[in-house]
Chain length 223, copies 2
Amino acid sequence: MKRAVVLLSGGLDSATVLAIAKAQGYESYTISFDYGQRHRAELHASALLSEQLGAVSHKVINIDLTAIGGSALTDTNIDVPHEEQAGIPVTYVPARNTVFMSIALGWAEVLEAEAIFVGVNAVDYSGYPDCRPEYIAAFEKMANLATRSGVEGHPLKIETPLIDLSKQAIIERGNELGVDYSLTVSCYEADDQGRACGQCDSCRFRKQGFAQAGMTDPTRYQP
Amino acid sequence: MKRAVVLLSGGLDSATVLAIAKAQGYESYTISFDYGQRHRAELHASALLSEQLGAVSHKVINIDLTAIGGSALTDTNIDVPHEEQAGIPVTYVPARNTVFMSIALGWAEVLEAEAIFVGVNAVDYSGYPDCRPEYIAAFEKMANLATRSGVEGHPLKIETPLIDLSKQAIIERGNELGVDYSLTVSCYEADDQGRACGQCDSCRFRKQGFAQAGMTDPTRYQP
């Protein structure tokens, strides 16, 4: 059976990606990161989703990005904004996707996996540079020059099934595939129980997506 | 003053790179990784070298690559070989340079650094895929698509001043620049005091380099 490493943040997008990898016949190995983010609720969600969506194995890697900082998500001195911002917002974590996909690349090589699945999206998103198709293409090229498997003629694919989809389309696809979105945590400032603030960028895109899909929003909000 | 992040393993190559960055007028921010490698002596060496060679700041990042394994350096069930091997040897750590350079990329972005210096070498080396010029070029291209600084027109350079040099030429260059090679630890199986085995790939290349340079080998060997 073909294998894939799936990056799982515990949010709506990556949960949908995991369901898509399964539907495409992959044996999924999920990977999540304890990187000093503002809350651990998303790690709890990742473990639950891995189980619910039939991942073969779920791994949490510790990597302290607060040692680098430079983002509202990894430096508690920088506030998470509650309004839309021009340009790349302060929730952008420098090189985060590159760091996460690089570690996934190492695991993919050990597993002899054929693909890494990642839930980046360049439609209803925050304008992060490392979510764009040209970035993903460049990462894939680099990855296949970096590794033994690439050199030995077993190239790896970086699969981004959500990249061109609206949030509405992502939710509709996940719904067809049985994703339980009440388990997912998208909020940048979720509380210990995984309840969302309803105001950050991530909450706004998510809320809008459920509204546009004509679905009841299953998100648990803070009182 | 222009800034650079310098990857420092505590070995001969990266120490020389740090001296070269300084000679080129960079303010150096050194970064080392506690990744579950076989010994910590190289981390001690990195701290000493950062101080001796005038780095502005030295950072150690914890990232547990033993959770991934797949190498004699990150899985103690795989022995470090003492003879030359055909192809890519078992000391190759899957995606290690990519992981390390990605984290350096995040820090470089926060520092608004102009360059990342890395001591890869494709002459007297072990045949690791992530030491080749085509890999470095692909990483640089990816990096400038990944980051805010790249998008905003401040591209970052990946500087590899050793890539075409023989071990002899590296040692001669470092010697001119005042690197104290007795502080460096190259051995894959150094003991707690940083003393080398004298038999692994890394020791063999190093020994040969000092012999070819006609220099006394300052390496401290295990009794």
